[in-house]
Subunit: 341 residues, 4 copies
């Protein structure tokens, strides 16, 4: 059986562990040929193939990045993209396609499945917002990196009267912010799930520092936003800048907090360090289990599903049930974050 | 409300995060007094108390060990132990007791509950064999430490014709061995769940090295045993030694493999490094959630239950349902370990 | 003998290891009393003392921060500050003072020494720019943190056509930028020692990406500056912002590079993560050796000196020879950074 | 110019960083061809060559192991080995040879140099016992791994009355034991430099535990030996075992201490984890500087020298001055280890 494989969207640690599992299990147990496509869907559209054998996956288990390359490209988004993709799959005689990616990639997967191609998805995103699975590949590593950063800042913050802002990833959901905030013991966590009131933040910090504390750590997700009717007066100061830098929200908060409280405020922008480096053991185990489950599903003729972890079980969910939905941080976790601040 | 708190059994990273959560939430939200007992059940029997306030838990979140101390002691195991424990709890006017520990500690907890004391348990063990919960405090950290060790050995093993044995913890269940074996890419994983056939190991290693490989990594749980009727001929050589060292199985395997295959074989015994150091983010989050759930349960008057994580939810399980059972590594995980070897 | 001890300036990992060494050796071998001053020179001026015994230094060896607290305050900079400091030292009957700090703290130390107080300095700064010593406490840890960040970004950068900027500390000297750039394999390192020509950077990046590369990593020290007559045209865009944020140079470079090359450019600002967390083994060893050398020097009646590491030897240098000088990155190291880009 | 390159002896982290530096600088700046030999001197004798270009060294900077492979083989040790090596070098028209290795490899290098071949050595050994250089490639990483292990054991040891033995590498010199003992805060360090008196160890532990301590950590180098006339009575118990396991000294000490003190004693054998994994920033920088210095020396026509780091300078030392000597741990460092126990 000829099985296609691609990794789409942004890099996350653990992709190579999943690729390795698909190849080892697919070639070793099932005798399939695994045909990789370079740079996600782009490689499918361009017919950029890279056959994978066990030799190609030696020593990749603990490595970050993806040996197949990736790209933020969706076939159905460009004219004729979908047709070109289908043409390649036919030309390469691909009998089933395994797509490792986030919301965008999985969306494209269900589109391709709708066109009659057998497709199995594997969820990966450090944002952990793929619906239906307890965890996606890359999330555990990102949280551990963010937590380590908060730990480091803790030791320095203690000896000064200061506000330390740590900006982490999370556009639509605040999983990294909330969990690393709990793990690192942040005083304040700002997530997209709960638009923040800058006035209350000001009062909280002033009260806390007046009371006793010599410092406060604020973890903010890149997608955090002010609540309606709670203007950030000073953001105009960095207006233009607001559009042009990634670190926008962290910098904007800094200006706002300094102007309102007079506390020396510092910003750390973790940026792409959250997407890189050695995957944690948990991410490698998850990726390995997903890879095995995906190739086994393909072998069993299953299609249009996504692997998911639910409790201790790896299960298969219909892609259409999953695609387009966002898994937000549940209330009880937000409560824990608040309770332990 | 006066709430007692103890940590029993062996150390694991994350205990302080759980203690911190109980104190912060209990004192801050519920206005309880948290009375710690030193060295697990021993402190209850001896009346060795340590009242805990928020000051005591500053900066403990990322630390290993337990600020309350611990001991492998069970009140019902010694004459009058249980009565002494109950007497202390009454003298200290403890209205509910939170017990953080493994099988032994939780067992004692249900005994004390049977005597009419309100008790809530929190599972911790790097062995991850507490029944009913996806994970126990300490497991994730232990796996990450074992995996890091396997990663390191990988880079050295490659350039020599060698067998590298890594002995990890796991007396009754092979969770650390199996998961770190998957995460680290071990060639062979020996767990208590599947008694091993030394003859098959010999044939596997000889074939593998004859074929191509320059090395093999064997991860063995301390509780792994040979299958019936598959004698380890050379273990007599280290007979006496067998009783006297912790690293028994690793050393015995080394002798056996060297004698049978002639391959240079090295052993790494991780020992207590698996129980120590900084808890991973995942362990801190789990411990924090358990701590909050336990004190909330106590406040709600719930008793004789254990906190457990099932998927994304923290739930409460009857202690009697859990106590005395062992959670073994499921087949599908053993299959993944084999498939990716 | 009553020996005073203070830590001044910014936090660095390893301060507690030095404090521990002074106390253990001073109390244990020499029978001195060690009198700590809180928050650096401020504590001397305010008479804020904290006697230190072996109990106080338990378990501090691997911790970041400083148990004495620190502050960026110099007695000679404020009216009567120096007199107040001398008054406290006399009131506390301090026979000698050990000052752990960077340029500013050591400067103040020589001022106090000039007033007749016996003083021994210990150099600490992640910038590594203290003259006369191969290394200062904190530098090795900061470099390892910056290098780890570059490693992580490497794995993500590979799969995209991108410029990744990593801003590290280093106001006057580029030690962190140059060494982490070498260790991490950066394509470009911008240090204060060599003002950069933005036009050449533009040409270098365009040529490199046209040629073959899919990405470039640029490490920039916070103190890096454009060379005379090589205007950064677009910085006006972030003009005001330029004054108000710490991450100025990184953000300014980003804007400049994106405007000139059109390459997607991302910035990571490590900020205070470089000053925190667990000290590396090398920093703990250096701090321990400095602490022992300092208390031994004090005991021997030596004064007005600073401990320094030169090769494998810890030596004592006259404070006046050291104070006010800056140790820049030597040419040969800059050459290695360029050669391996 | 055709320059040969080999890595000999045991693996250490940082070898790939040195190889990368030689290739990048040699090819890029000097236009040389770099001819690698596989598996150290064995590859030279067998004519097993591997031409190296910049493509071959992509992404190897942070990796452990050696892409050239290595072997513990010395040409002059086997009949005709030296002649065969010289024949290969002539056949391959090698104009100069860079040898990265420890004492054995550098010894062979000076033999080959004596036969008229231009040779430059680069010192690597986690034992750090190469004479004339402050540090050798691999040492810093090994110390950091051993220190991390001691840190972890610290947190677990605290809550029990126990002796924890950590066996580290170091056959002839105790560099890893002494430095990681200082960095980790061990109570006792046993190094080859100072044969130990088991009776004094017994008295020290008994007194310490009687006095106050709940635990003691003993770091022992694999090459540590009992002093003359201080028999270890119980080692007979593990006599035979003594020959057959690597971890001999650790296990022997355990038995001895348990029998003499009755304290529960545990052993951790770090083994090859000390030789593997990601090189620290310091090791990568050292390796990069050595690689550049070696290829520059070769280009300048220098021969029969070894690169060495002395303070902040990389210098060249005559191979004959270095070969065969052992650099022991100096007294002042042993004193610091004792003083801070």
């Amino acid at each position: 059986m000829r099985v296609g494989l691609l990794t789409g969207g942004g890099d996350v640690p653990g992709l190579n562990a999943a690729i390795r599992a698909v190849v080892k299990r697919g070639e070793g147990e099932h005798g399939h040929s695994i045909i990789g496509f370079r740079n996600g869907w782009k490689g499918v559209v361009d017919g950029d193939v890279m056959p994978l054998t066990r030799r190609d996956i030696r020593n990749v288990l603990p490595t970050g990045g993806t040996l197949l390359g990736t790209a933020r490209y969706h076939p159905h988004a460009s004219d004729g993209g979908l047709d070109a993709a289908l043409a390649t799959l036919e030309a390469e005689r691909i009998e089933a396609l395994i797509c490792i990616g986030g919301d965008g990639t999985l969306n494209a997967a269900s589109k391709v499945a709708a066109a009659g191609v057998k497709v199995v998805g594997i969820p990966k995103t450090i944002d952990n917002d793929v619906w239906g699975t307890d965890a996606s590949i890359g999330f555990d590593t990102a949280v551990s990196i963010a937590t380590e950063a908060i730990d480091r800042i803790h030791t320095t913050a203690e000896s000064h009267n200061r506000v330390m802002i740590v900006e982490v990833m999370g556009r639509h959901a605040g999983w990294i912010a909330v969990t690393s905030g709990i793990a690192g013991g942040a005083e304040l966590v700002l997530a997209p799930e709960e638009p923040f009131d800058i006035g209350r933040i000001e009062r909280f910090l002033k009260h806390r520092h007046r009371a006793h504390a010599s410092f406060s750590i604020v973890v903010v997700a890149e997608g955090a936003v002010p609540a309606e009717g709670t203007p950030m007066h000073y953001e105009t100061q960095v207006g233009k800048f607001g559009e042009i830098v990634a670190g926008a929200i962290g910098e904007r908060l800094k200006v706002e907090i300094e102007q309102r409280t007079g506390f020396d405020t510092r910003v750390t922008v973790l940026g792409h360090t959250q997407r890189g480096g050695i995957p944690t053991a948990a991410d490698r185990i998850l990726a390995s289990r997903f890879g095995v489950a995906a190739i086994d599903a393909v072998t069993a003729g299953t299609s249009n599903v996504m692997t998911a972890i639910q409790g201790e079980q790896v299960v298969l969910l219909p892609l259409d049930e999953v695609a387009g939905k966002v898994k937000f941080v549940p209330q009880d976790l937000l409560t824990v974050a608040r309770a332990l601040a």
